[in-house]
């Protein structure tokens, strides 16, 4: 079990993470929050890239700062927009990461090939990374994160740059892994996690606002999501008045979907909430 206790990170007067406390078990945990919410700070502390100002992280009851090598041995990390050496081939990079992750050479070769196959990069294994598209880099980033068979997998915006087919493939892969391991999945894209996440961690201004399963979060939104079919002037007026709103198509017409505690318009009808509505409701103006 992974436990965050009162984790705080300050940069001068700015608090990037404020007494963040949460317990995580195996399964996929989606970290949801607007830019600057503290998601990356939390993950960077977890992987040891930055040190916390206060607080601790425990893995199975042991402070990870005292586990040192042992903790790094059980994590796999895929940063947002992973950067690689452009002159390395995909296989070179995988071999290098295998060495850095302490995989014996005799096992490394097989493992590298298997992982490249699982992320659909077998054909490109001898191509220079410099020639890779954004999606291919993301997939290579995932492959390197999995090379040590991690017990904790940390994914920072992993689907950025992937096409829909690759996103589905990626989701399936993460879902299959998540039975035995803890996956921390940080994203802005709600659709990436709404079908696979065990629980959602909503984070804002460095604080954990809520930790709950998707049905629970959606249930709480009952009676707070509305749709209106106004005329053109009415659309602009509603969008201006309710920042937590979006445009949707309904029977060839444009409707305004509004997240609000009270009925926003006499013609508004209550509708079934989605995870995206939760996001808009929790993060308000910052969500944009």
């Amino acid at each position: 079990m992974l436990q965050f206790k009162e984790l705080t990170k300050q940069y001068g007067n700015f608090t990037a993470l404020d007494r963040f406390t949460v317990d995580l078990e195996s399964g996929i945990y989606a970290l949801l929050g607007p830019n600057g919410a503290g998601k990356s700070t939390m993950m960077n502390i977890l992987v040891g890239l930055i040190a916390p100002t206060n607080g601790c992280i425990y893995y199975d009851g042991t402070d990870i700062s005292k586990m040192d090598d042992k903790f790094r041995d059980i994590i796999g990390y895929m940063p947002q927009y992973p950067g690689f050496y452009p002159n390395f081939t995909a296989m070179d990079l995988m071999r290098y990461m295998a060495q850095m992750k302490g995989i014996p050479r005799k096992d490394a070769e097989k493992r590298c090939l298997k992982l490249l196959e699982s992320v659909n990069l077998t054909e490109k294994k001898d191509a220079k990374i410099g020639s890779f598209s954004g999606g291919m880099r993301q997939r290579l980033g995932l492959a390197q994160a999995l090379i040590n068979d991690p017990k904790i997998l940390i994914l920072d915006e992993p689907t950025a740059g992937l096409d829909p087919k690759e996103r589905v493939r990626f989701r399936n892969m993460v879902r299959r892994l998540s039975d035995q391991i803890t996956v921390i999945f940080c994203t802005h894209i709600v659709s990436d996690i709404e079908t696979i996440a065990k629980e959602i961690l909503l984070i804002h201004h460095g604080k954990l606002l809520k930790k709950a399963a998707i049905p629970e979060l959606v249930e709480e939104m009952q009676g707070k999501v509305w749709e209106v079919l106004p005329d053109q002037d009415g659309i602009e007026h509603l969008l201006d008045e309710y920042p937590r709103s979006s445009l949707v198509s309904r029977n060839m017409q444009t409707a305004v979907r509004i997240v609000n505690d009270t009925k926003p318009h006499p013609d508004a009808v209550s509708c079934k909430p989605l995870l995206e509505d939760v996001y808009l409701y929790m993060f308000g103006d910052d969500a944009s």
Partner: protein, 346 residues
């Protein structure tokens, strides 16, 4: 294989191949060959090599009380020789000449033997008071060229920031540091790579320099004391020129890792390649200015150590020992300091 060794192996591979460090090394070697081939010798003074060799054999090692005694004695003998010559010319009778001849010949023999020492005194005096009149060996002209090795320093300046900042610049640090090898071992591997690459580069450039100079100029008189060279008169290291060449070649190679680690530390602190290289050049330049202004500073100066043989001009044997000691101490401190600075960047 230990994790640091594995990281070291990959750092070397990345530096030389992934970041095209081999190209920089090749350019450095070509630059060194060019500098050594086209280096213009300093103007030297006319000199009778055979005559010099006799003086040099008499003068073993640095100026000492014994040297002073010999010089004083030779001056006395020289004066007496002059007196005898005058007396001899004044003698009128043949008989008297014969009577005195034996005694005078004995004295002349003694005087002749000491004449050479007298000439040495003149040579020393010339060296001290009128360097422009110094009789010297041809070696002086190319030994003055064994100063700072600019080619090796330029090579280091181009290679090392790539090594230290390459991972950070391309975003690989984020992936590498959370591995079991970890930041400490990777930083240590980088620093060990910096040390070995810089030492190898300095060795290569020094050997090229010596090789090319030996082809261009004759190295036939290396067995004579280093004090024989212009400008080395005050040096108190008891060594031949060849001994000094080897000693200061070794010091220069030992100084290369210290200079490399200083650049690594600056790269880690500043995080910008051009700024780190500029700061490094300024620090080494300051070290050179301080070494020339403060008499005890050469012992602590990185510039002195990097300067190689030319540093021997002002250093004694004891100073050289201290220079090596402080160089090793500096290397150790810079190694620890850079590791700590990299860790603190968290």
């Amino acid at each position: 294989m230990s994790r640091t060794a594995a990281a070291y192996q990959y750092e070397m591979k990345k530096l030389l191949f992934a970041r095209k460090g081999w190209l920089i090394l090749l350019c450095t070697v070509l630059l060194q060959i060019g500098i050594a081939c086209f280096a213009k010798p300093y103007q030297y003074y006319s000199f009778d090599t055979q005559l010099y060799k006799e003086y040099a054999e008499l003068y073993a090692g640095p100026y000492s009380k014994e040297t002073e005694r010999i010089i004083h004695a030779s001056l006395v003998v020289s004066e007496r020789l002059g007196e005898y010559k005058m007396e001899y010319e004044e003698l009128s009778s043949e008989e008297m000449r014969e009577q005195n001849q034996k005694m005078m010949l004995a004295n002349l023999k003694t005087a002749a033997l000491n004449e050479i020492q007298n000439k040495y005194a003149q040579l020393s005096a010339c060296k001290e008071y009128a360097p422009e009149m110094t009789y010297d060996i041809e070696a002086t002209e190319y030994f003055q060229k064994f100063g700072m090795n600019w080619a090796a320093l330029i090579g280091m300046a181009l290679l090392l920031p790539l090594l230290m900042l390459g991972d950070a610049n391309c975003g690989m640090e984020q992936i590498l540091f959370p591995t079991i090898t970890g930041q400490k071992r990777i930083t240590l591997a980088k620093l060990l790579t910096a040390c070995s690459v810089s030492a190898a580069l300095m060795l290569l450039c020094t050997l090229l320099q010596w090789g090319i100079f030996s082809v261009r100029w004759d190295f036939g008189t290396l067995a004579v004391p280093v004090q024989s060279l212009t400008g080395f008169g005050s040096c108190t290291i008891k060594s031949s020129i060849s001994g000094c060449m080897i000693l200061f070649g070794i010091i220069r190679i030992l100084a290369a890792p210290a200079a490399a680690l200083l650049l690594c530390l600056l790269s880690v602190l500043i995080r910008k390649e051009p700024a780190a290289i500029t700061a490094w050049a300024v620090l080494i330049g300051c070290s050179a200015i301080l070494a020339s202004k403060i008499s005890v500073f050469p012992v602590f100066s990185l510039y002195s150590a990097l300067s190689g043989l030319s540093a021997a001009k002002t250093l004694s044997g004891v100073d050289t020992g201290f220079l090596i000691f402080f160089l090793l101490l500096k290397t150790g401190l810079l190694l620890c300091g850079t590791c700590a600075a990299a860790e603190k960047k968290k």
